[in-house]
Structure formats: structure tokens, C-alpha cells
Subunit: 157 residues, 2 copies
DNA sequence: AATGAAAATACATAATG
DNA sequence: CATTATGTATTTTCATT
């Protein structure tokens, strides 16, 4: 359960995680000491899970993004869990979703170029016995909305 | 072009964007003053694009995630650009990818429950004239790997 | 829960090697 | 780029409300 002050703190930290506690306090109309307590509590309650730099992937030598839709067979825990662990260990993997539907997983990857993507597909995915089907969607552009607002009054959840 | 020190700074800030400059400097074996300069330069060069809190969406009243694959028609700039602007304004939208393939867009949304998702699909998407086809993939689980490592030596890019 | 004040840290900058 | 020095600002704790 978030009150309106918590919601304001969460909003500000979604937009700028490196804001100083003093400036944050001033934005949400709290004394710095109170603000610090609120932030600690939000972390302790698991509302704030972490703080991360958003990095230009091109600068990291990975300018090309793609989704890889993967069907695995059999779709049992014995196969699913190791597949997830394996995929998350790949340095190309940026995000992994286990989804409902014809496809089982959507893997978002960041690579240097098309040749790198091809190698990843062949050596990293189709070579695995549990991978039954692959479909690749090149990403022309990708926008992440870093700040999600609470649903309902103040996210009474 | 990142050297190994830049790469280390970027890695640390991807893992913890709220680390103090002093602690960051110590982790990457720099003097604080030098470290501060490095971080500023990385921001100025666009390598570090921003810093964001990772928030538990359930706590915001949005525990259900889905991908919505959208085909729009015609796929012209006159239609594409307003569609992107519209979709990014929806409070349910978390991320939007313009992709190659049969589907034109993958929209990641966060909603309260299945009823909310249904309303979003009907009122937010299928009601629009340019939306030719929709396919929804419920997300069972989603993992974002916040730290992407450079490709090659130090991401010589 | 929130506050203000004190004590401990950290930041920002400049000068020097 | 590291170190040092300096003044300023922030963070953090804690007694009080």
C-alpha cells in the first residue's frame, strides 16, 4: 500500500535514480530525514527493487536489438528451468519473458551486427535439443518508458 | 570508445545507480575527483543516458504483464508516427518496439488484471482504425538483465 | 510518521606533482 | 591521473513532537 507521498517518491526515483536525498525531499515536500526513512521503507517492502543506469547499447558495441521467439519441447520444468538459466547467462540477453501462446519465450538480445545475430541463433539456440522453433524479429526502434504510474488512486495494492 | 575504466564505471552504475561517487571511485580504483570527471564525460558522450529505479509493478497495482503484437495498416509514416505517440501515452505501456516481420509493433503493457487487459485491448487498440491485427501474449515471468556487458575488449565502438 | 539540529561523510574545485 | 587541501553541501542519526 502506497500513500501519495510514497507514490511521488517512486515517481521521482523512476525518472532520476541519482537525485540527491535532499532534492528528492524537496520535490515531495518532506524533510530530508523523513524522506530517507520513506525510501528505506520502500526498499525494505520491495517496492523499490534497485537502481540502474540506462546505457546506450551502441556504445557497448551492441547496436542491434532483436526479439527471438522460442518454442521449446517438451515444455516441462526439467527443460524450462535450465533453458531460462542458460539464456540469462548469454551476454547477448537483455531480457527474457516466459509467455503464454504458441511461443514459449521472448528473448530480447543486443548484438553487434547481423553476423553476430546469426551466430547467436545458430550456436546459441538452434543447436540446443530443446529448441523446437525460432522466429526472429529485428527491432528498428525501442522505447522504454522508465516511469510507470500507479493504477488507481495511489496503487492501493 | 570506452577504455577499461569506463567499462567498469558503466558496469557498476548499471548494477547500482545510487552508489556514491566515493564508493564508485574505490570500486574502479580511481581517485574520487577523477571518477567524477569520468562519469560526467560518459553522460556528456551519451553512453550513460539516465538512471532509473526498478519498481515492483505489483506494488503499483499492475501485477499482470503482457506483450501485444500489433499490425497496422497502412504501414506508412503518416500512420506509424501517431500510433507510436499514442501508444507511448497510454499509462499501461511499459515499452514499445517497432519490429520487422509480420507484426509491426510489440507493446509491453502492465495492467491490474485480465479484465483491465481486455478493456485496454478493446478500447485502446482494436477500436483504432489503423490497427489491423492484434495478438496478445500473457507474460508468466519476466527478467530484465540490468547490466549488459560490452561486446569485444571494452566495447570499442 | 515527521521534524530540526548535530555529527559524520561526501562533494566540488583548485593547486601541485 | 593521483594527491592534497579547502570550503561547501549532503547524509545520517537521534532526541523530540
Amino acid at each position: 500500500m502506497l500513500d501519495s507521498v510514497d507514490a511521488a517518491i517512486v515517481r521521482e526515483l523512476q525518472n532520476d535514480a541519482r537525485i540527491s536525498n535532499k532534492d528528492l525531499a524537496s520535490k515531495v515536500n518532506l524533510a530530508p530525514s523523513t524522506c530517507l526513512e520513506r525510501v528505506r521503507s520502500l526498499k525494505a517492502r520491495g517496492v523499490l527493487r534497485g537502481f540502474h543506469a540506462d546505457v546506450d547499447l551502441g556504445s557497448l558495441g551492441r547496436p542491434l536489438l532483436a526479439f527471438i521467439a522460442v518454442r521449446i519441447r517438451p515444455h516441462t520444468r526439467e527443460v524450462v528451468d535450465p533453458f531460462i538459466a542458460y539464456t540469462l547467462k548469454l551476454p547477448e540477453t537483455v531480457a527474457l519473458s516466459h509467455v503464454a501462446g504458441p511461443d514459449d519465450f521472448l528473448v530480447q538480445v543486443a548484438v553487434r551486427d547481423a553476423a553476430h545475430l546469426q551466430r547467436l541463433l545458430l550456436d546459441g539456440f538452434t543447436s540446443r535439443r530443446e529448441v523446437a522453433h525460432l522466429q526472429t524479429h529485428l527491432i528498428f526502434s525501442h522505447v522504454h518508458k522508465w516511469a510507470t504510474e500507479p493504477y488507481g488512486p495511489y496503487g492501493l495494492e
